[in-house]
């Protein structure tokens, strides 16, 4: 990890690790949800921040992960994470490979619109195949077990999610800093030059899309396990835009920005939801954020801290 993040990172991890000791139950629930969405936001940022591709369809992978769990439970009677997680990752990666074959030929707005279209397509399919998917009612999902262990409460599940969150964050960080990570950053910065080096740009975009989809699919498994209900709206644009918002909110220019963004978003959504026009306030906060904190919360805070330190030292 970059040295400048190490102190705040340790504090953040300590808060997350010890949270259940002093936070109330609902805060624990929100933190669990925040960590799950952090996985999706980190995965999206692999595409947005590192590969330079804006996806408006990542909800489809949340939906794919969630419905793999729901359908496996309903039709195959599978209730264990050790089967459901790898299966959902495979399903999401497969979906990403299929969708990516069409989308990664395009860039910028065309890529964004294609991903959006695929997400909406899956939403409609899921809503209309009532007999199989439960239509707009969705499918109820029980909390899966882990190697026979039944989660006894929110704290148990919290630590399971905390562990997976750490594992995924570490895995995505390694990928971002690997030779492949540098290759996708090169594709982001100058795809023409990448071709002149002798690399196929589309291949790197596609692989990044598959990795991103697979991790987002895992987030889908965990979301549906937490909420207990798979619904077609998971595929839809609002889910996708929410993940984009988390990334922008935290800052897509830093690795940890999306984590901050996801947790802040989950709490913000929870506070604003009792208001009648909560989406209005969410919209206003996006506008303010883009105008005053273009680098996201993490980018803005680091600038303030740097300025404050400079003032103190002078």
């Amino acid at each position: 990890m970059p040295r400048k993040f190490s102190f705040p990172l340790i504090i953040g991890l300590l808060i997350l690790a010890t949270g259940p000791a002093y936070f109330p139950g609902f805060t624990i629930y929100l933190l669990t949800y925040g960590m799950i969405m952090s996985i999706a936001a980190l995965a999206l940022n692999l595409l947005l921040g590192y590969t330079g591709l804006m996806s408006f369809g990542h909800g489809m992978f949340i939906g794919a992960g969630a419905y793999t769990v729901a359908l496996m439970m309903k039709y195959a009677g599978v209730h264990s994470f050790e089967i459901l997680i790898p299966l959902s990752i495979l399903t999401s990666a497969g979906l990403a490979a299929f969708v990516g074959c069409f989308c990664t030929r395009q860039i910028e707005i065309y890529f964004a619109m294609l991903t959006l279209a695929f997400g909406e397509l899956l939403f409609v399919l899921c809503s209309k195949f009532y007999g199989f998917t439960g239509g707009t009612d969705g499918i109820r999902v029980k909390m899966p077990t882990l190697f026979g262990y039944v989660f006894k409460g929110a704290v148990d599940f919290y630590y399971f999610i905390f562990f997976l969150f750490l594992l995924c964050a570490l895995a995505i960080w390694v990928v971002c800093n690997s030779p492949f990570g540098k290759a996708i950053q090169a594709v982001r910065d100058n795809s023409q030059r990448v071709g002149y080096l002798g690399l196929r740009v589309m291949k790197y975009r596609l692989i990044a899309f598959i990795i991103s989809g697979a991790f987002t699919g895992l987030a889908g498994v965990l979301v549906v396990s937490l909420t207990g209900h798979a619904v077609p709206e998971m595929f839809q644009v609002f889910t996708s835009i929410s993940i984009v918002f988390m990334v922008i909110l935290g800052g897509h220019l830093s690795f940890l920005g999306p984590v901050i963004g996801a947790i802040v978003f989950v709490f913000l959504q929870s506070w604003l939801k009792p208001l009648f026009f909560w989406q209005f306030f969410l919209g206003v906060s996006i506008i303010l954020l883009v105008i005053f904190l273009p680098g996201g919360v993490l980018g803005g805070v680091s600038i303030w801290v740097r300025k404050a330190l400079a003032k103190i030292s002078s």
Binding site: V174, Y196, G198
Partner: protein, 253 residues
């Protein structure tokens, strides 16, 4: 190796090369040979077809007519990526860098490409000390600071970094498109004095598109003069300079 030229192997042989953009004949029936280890300069006025010819060799532009043989293989119908993998490497007139990566990472990226490691997802790049060492050596040779992001480097060093990235791929044929364009007169000499000894030491076969005749005469072994898409004259710099047709057409700059 293929045919022998005057004391050397021919690495590239183009016959009847042509490229049209609509009605414009950018390159028209060009025959050329590039010998192993030589530095060939391609000169001509603006719009003479120099860059187009270079891009036709690299695969950046398709060849409309004619044949291009590279090391005994017909590469006329091969694409940019295949030719780059064969060792035909193009360096851009306007530096094409990975702007948000450091100079070190730009060169490391080229090295990972050469070593076929760009699909490795782990470990992190810092676990490749040999790649780092080689990248640092290349940056030292080209006198580029390693930790600056490419976007913050001054223009002269951006040009050098572009060439350094191409050089890191160990090209069999290096194509340099105006390595001194946009560089001040004073810096031109510095840029060329940095690039050319490296090319000479490594015996890298190179084709350079260049406007500055002083640079051409000082650094190249052979010169091709182009005019309106055709080869007007070729030979040693002295032969070309003494050709009256060349003087008429080029109005030396």
């Amino acid at each position: 190796m293929g045919e022998k030229g005057p004391g050397q192997d021919i690495i590239v042989k183009g016959s009847g090369l042509a490229k049209h953009f609509g009605e414009v004949h950018a390159v028209d029936e060009v025959d050329l040979q590039i010998f192993q280890g030589e530095i060939l300069a391609i000169v001509g006025s603006n719009g003479a077809g120099k860059t187009t010819l270079l891009k036709m060799i690299s695969g950046g532009h398709s060849i409309d007519r004619g044949n291009l043989i590279f090391q005994d293989l017909d590469v006329s119908r091969l694409g940019l990526i295949q030719r780059a993998r064969m060792g035909i490497i193009y360096s851009f007139q306007i530096p094409a860098l990975f702007e948000n990566l450091s100079a070190l990472d730009c060169v490391r990226m080229a090295l990972f490409t050469r070593e076929h490691k760009t699909v490795m997802f782990f470990p992190t790049i810092e676990k490749f000390p040999l790649v780092r060492k080689e990248a640092e050596e290349i940056l030292n040779m080209f006198q580029i600071p390693k930790n600056f992001p490419a976007c913050l480097l001054p223009h002269g060093q951006r040009k050098l970094l572009d060439v350094a990235m191409a050089f890191a791929l160990k090209p069999r044929l290096l194509l340099l498109d105006e390595p001194t364009s946009g560089v001040s007169t004073k810096e031109k000499g510095q840029v060329m004095d940095t690039i050319m000894p490296i090319i000479r030491q490594t015996n890298t076969t190179t084709a350079i598109v260049e406007h500055d005749m002083e640079i051409v005469t000082r650094y190249s072994d052979r010169v091709i003069v182009m005019d309106q898409g055709r080869v007007l004259a070729q030979g040693t710099p002295q032969e070309v300079l003494s050709n009256p047709k060349v003087g008429e057409v080029l109005l030396w700059r």
